[in-house]
């Protein structure tokens, strides 16, 4: 069996994925998978110049740890990495990084979207979207029933 582990962080600096490679490594692991969510320039035809993230930091970390723990169990993973960046995240840079490893690929392919869906539903982090005129809007999705 794996010595299962999680690495959960909230950072205020650019996310460097390579820094987390070792977290997923294990001799009995046959699959590593990564997902990075990055700032996109256009949303429904509107130009985004910048995303700014804020969090209830203590609660966000707690929620992220719970999600990572549950994913380990649910998908028999060896390791989970879950990192979110706060503050200004320019176009093309990552606001979130998810990584996981397992013996075989089906588990990691299933785990990544599950982890992201849970993060987007429950982790108290919010983005403010700035357009090319410098006007900012908080994004509060209303259709999460």
């Amino acid at each position: 069996m794996f010595d299962r582990r999680i690495k959960v962080e909230i950072v205020d600096v650019p996310i460097v994925r390579e820094r987390y490679d070792d977290e997923l490594s294990h001799q009995d692991v046959g699959a590593h998978a990564w997902f990075a969510g990055v700032t996109r320039r256009t949303t429904q035809g509107k130009i985004t110049s910048l995303l700014h993230y804020e969090a209830h930091r203590e609660m966000a970390l707690k929620q992220m740890e719970e999600i990572a723990d549950e994913a380990l169990e649910r998908f028999s993973l060896a390791a989970v990495v879950l990192v979110h960046r706060l503050g200004a995240v320019p176009i093309g840079e990552a606001s979130v990084l998810v990584g996981c490893s397992s013996s075989h690929r089906p588990e990691v392919f299933t785990a990544l979207p599950w982890i992201m869906d849970r993060l987007k539903r429950d982790v108290p982090i919010w983005k403010k979207e700035y357009d090319d005129q410098g006007a900012g809007d908080w994004i509060h999705p209303q259709n999460l029933a």
């Binding site: 209830h56 609660m59 979130v96 992201m116 993060l119 919010w126 994004i139 509060h140 209303q142």
Partner: protein, 96 residues
């Protein structure tokens, strides 16, 4: 000795985030709750509706907000201990 039973008035800080914080113009607000018994508890739904009465700018956003007590979400019917360390209003989240 007074025999009239006055409701217990409790001052309580509530923390706001993101859009809720901007609509009120403050990260924290202090609410005064009148409790008619000694339990000092109110439902989460009652706390949210009192917020809406005091800060009408929140009325559109509040129905989609959740309340978190000491970093855990609570449902609308949950009785919240007003002596908890932290009561926070969590608008719909948009991380990722």
């Amino acid at each position: 000795m007074r025999l009239v039973v006055e409701p217990n008035v409790i001052s309580r800080r509530v923390v706001l985030f993101a859009g809720a914080k901007d609509l009120v113009g403050a990260q924290e607000v202090t609410l005064e709750f009148k409790c008619h018994d000694a339990t000092n508890k109110l439902t989460a739904q009652k706390i949210l509706s009192l917020l809406g009465e005091l800060y009408p700018s929140l009325l559109d956003l509040l129905p989609s907000c959740r309340l978190a007590v000491d970093c855990e979400y609570v449902s609308g019917e949950t009785l919240v201990d007003l002596g908890a360390d932290e009561i926070a209003v969590i608008p719909p989240v948009s991380g990722g």
